[in-house]
Amino acid sequence: MLTFLRRRIVSSALPLLVVVLGVFALARLTGNPASLYLPLNATAEMRANFTAKYGFDDPLLVQMAHYFGGVLRLDFGESLRTGEPAAAMALRAFPATLQLAGTTMLLAVVLAVIVGCWAALKPNGVADRISSFVSMAAASVPDFWLAIMGILVFAITLGWVPTSGVGGATSWILPIATLLLRPFGVLVQIVRGAMVSSLSEPYIKLARSKGASEFRVVTRHALRNAAAPALTVAGDLTVSLVNGAVVVESIFGWPGIGKLMIDSILQRDFAVLQAAVLLTAVSIFILNILIDLGYAGLDARVRPAGRRKKSSRAASVVVAEPKERKIHVQTTP
């Protein structure tokens, strides 16, 4: 188990590092912040001073070394805009996004499991057709448009909810509803597909042959097996939820990490951008590890350390050996 975890940590840390370095380099390419932060009539000397103060004239590698030297001392630099420590700004914005994303995913998973199972019980039945259309539509709506239309109808016309900001419970409704749709739509289809295939597996027949009730068959035997693919996709969707958060947060004026990132890009506030990206990347990294643990918890077959599925020629030959056995062709082409 520990080897398994270590392997996962090493393999997930690499993308993390590449992303952080990439953002660091790219941000430097957006131009010198001096032109944004100094008055238009600033002298060359003022510019040079500004540039030197933040080290923007150093070679990229030197800047990187400086920055990561600071990171190791937990110094993430300061905001150009406000002078506040960048880490503090990122950490302040983070909970708002986390709450939003967490609530959304929880709702999406619960709803998707219910709707997906319902659809899978009778493939091609009425429930299946309805849910497949609804989920498809849900996954297809542009979130920014839905947010605007939601504001138009529920905030402006009906006045039920505020147009933006974090306030009482009602202020959560529109952002969550907007964010929810895509993960919900995709997950319903995943859960349905996984349930349909799980329900047609021979072990379902075995359970029925033991006299298990339909409820037991669905909840104990099929759902548990269908959970693994759903979990994988839910993880990917959580990552892409940050995409939605960028849009939704900027529309609803939600003081989250997505809004912070967009603002700092537009204002070349490098330290804040880097802190926000680093924080996001670390949380995605942790999320991936958690999903792996959940996966191992769900399915014993992935548990033993280093046991790979089809990961090398040799292993696939070992897997192929049992094929020698006599196969009486009951299956149809």
């Binding site: 021979p202 075995l206 042959s209 014993a300």
Partner: protein
């Protein structure tokens, strides 16, 4: 749920009681081609302490028959006629819910592919104990004790330590033992074994068949063995029903049916076995291949491959005629078979 089982009078534990009577069973399949008859007018009896073999090639409907008896047909297949009487109750007349009470205590089934038939995400202990939890309402702990007992009964070494292992950690033969243990957990009167050794090697097959024999003797079960292996039938079964294209074409005690086959198909199958035919000599094979289910002709199902075929075979489908001595054959010219 329990009441249904209790209300059925348990037959006294002696051999040769009729446990299962299937009469005129029809199973239809809904396919893109329309509705097909996959099992047509199939009848047979299974006796306690005896093994009945359903013998036939792939697609002949033997597995479908077993699934219909066990109530495990796929959603595209329906039982459209016939009765399945198990211990006095017509299973075909029960609702699916009522039927649950019979699955386990009255009827157990062993599937072909033990790896896919076992649920990969639960330990074998959990799966072995499930029947007790469902039908006897045992606690998880008590069910586990029963599971260990079952594993010992089917000859799995070190059951105490292996009860918490997952199916993929067992070898093919051990998995098949676990499946058998599940089927016999509640001492059913009827055990259906659907190609139980097809995926196994001969040395393991010998072990598994020995286990099945021992269990049958021990608890006086009636065993329905579904297989395509003639030699296995010859060694393991008491009676045999030979199926072809959804119909039973010949039935009777194995020794008599295999010794003096009365149906040209049975004869053809026996001749196709390579045993005793010298090196370099041709085997006697049956020409052609079985008819597709949507193209089963009127008249005899075997007409297109039969050496004895006459006009009457193309017009009238022969019914299974009992000869009064425990055998029956569906052929217009069974008497002439010996002259060919």
């Amino acid at each position: 749920m329990r009441t249904a089982t209790v209300s059925v009078p348990r037959a006294s534990m002696i051999d040769d009681d009729v446990v299962l009577t299937v009469t005129g069973l029809n199973v239809d399949l809904r396919t893109p081609k329309g509705v097909l008859r996959a099992v047509n007018d199939v009848s047979f009896e299974a006796l306690s302490g005896r093994t009945l073999a359903l013998l036939g090639e792939s697609g002949c409907g033997k597995s479908m028959t077993a699934k219909a008896v066990a109530g495990l047909l796929d959603p595209v297949a329906d039982v459209t006629g016939g009765t399945v009487v198990l211990g006095g109750t017509d299973l075909a007349a029960l609702t699916p819910k009522e039927r649950l009470a019979y699955a386990g205590p009255e009827l157990g089934i062993v599937f072909q592919d033990a790896l896919t038939a076992l649920n990969p995400v639960y330990t074998v202990g959990t799966q072995l104990g499930e029947a007790f939890r469902i039908h006897e309402g045992l606690s998880a702990k008590a069910a586990k004790v029963k599971a260990i007992e079952l594993m010992r009964r089917v000859g799995i070494p070190e059951p105490e330590s292996r009860v918490d292992s997952f199916p993929h950690q067992f070898s093919g033969g051990m998995r098949q033992r676990i499946l058998i243990a599940m089927a016999v957990a509640l001492n059913p009167r009827l055990l259906i074994a659907d190609e139980p050794t097809t995926a196994l090697d001969v040395t393991v097959q010998a072990q598994i068949m020995k286990l099945l024999r021992d269990l049958r003797t021990e608890s006086h079960m009636a065993v329905v063995l579904i297989t395509h292996d003639l030699a296995l039938v010859a060694e393991e079964a008491d009676t045999v029903a030979v199926m072809y294209a959804g119909n039973v074409v010949e039935t009777g005690p194995v020794k008599e049916v295999f010794g003096t086959p009365h149906h040209p198909y049975t004869r053809g199958l026996l001749d196709s076995v390579p045993a005793d035919v010298g090196r370099g000599q041709d085997l006697t094979s049956i020409a052609g291949s079985p008819p597709e289910l949507h193209r089963i002709p009127d008249g005899c199902v075997y007409q297109s491959r039969c050496p004895l075929v006459q006009d009457i075979c193309r017009a009238i489908r022969p019914t299974l005629e009992p000869d009064g001595a425990g055998r029956a054959v569906a052929c217009h010219f069974s008497e002439e078979l010996d002259n060919v």
